[in-house]
Subunit: 152 residues, 2 copies
Amino acid sequence: MSEPRERLYLDDLRVGQRFTSATHAVTVEQIVASAAEFDPQPFHMDPEAAKDGFFGELVASGWHTAAITMRLQVESGLPIAGGIVGAGGELSWPAPTRPGDVLHVESEVIEIKPSRSRPERGMITVRSETRNQRGDVVQKLMVKLVVPRRAR
Amino acid sequence: MSEPRERLYLDDLRVGQRFTSATHAVTVEQIVASAAEFDPQPFHMDPEAAKDGFFGELVASGWHTAAITMRLQVESGLPIAGGIVGAGGELSWPAPTRPGDVLHVESEVIEIKPSRSRPERGMITVRSETRNQRGDVVQKLMVKLVVPRRAR
């Protein structure tokens, strides 16, 4: 965990605002443990069997990459007041996460929309890229988040 | 794990084909453990603190719902030859997953596209809905999957 940061309300955000998270080092043990629980396929669990699989080597489940991204966003990425509450979005994995990768997340606020019906909140759209130590993008996410407004 | 099922190649699939997974019962312990690792926010980890949070009660992280969905798809949902290899898609969480929910996944093949450049494979688009025991949709996913063709 990093030091406490100021938490931002809808009123504090602006389009184009950028955030960069801390890093997370991915190990083969993390990849296999996550896959055993949530994506038990040979190319995520068994280095030998993975050689014959789609990727030709052991790689992380895309959902593991998504989960690591979320942890980085919560702890050091997006300092949103009220927490990070996502309604959904578009997700892609242009390249796999591999053992030894060191990931971080770069985010940009794309849109800010106060709610018409709920004056105490609004929605923002955030585009994030999760990158490895070589700069390769392992996940792109365009997500809509619910953000509270400052109390008047 | 269910009994072994026939694995389907691109050539075996047709638009409109449907699949229904087995069920998974979600416990408060699972929700808190998943959140502690990947989405450490009070409304996913602490039933008391969650009363003051966005949802007014403890709910699962959307990424936990996604991970449960993936496990159901791998073990009993989509019997794709070569495994379930996703390139990305659109995701939304219309309602939260709560402790005690029993989830299953309903899927439908929406599109089938043989690859022009790679004759040994193609892409399919699958729309899935993850539903709880009341039929509420807790996740919608429209995902593109890489699927091998039968060897000639």
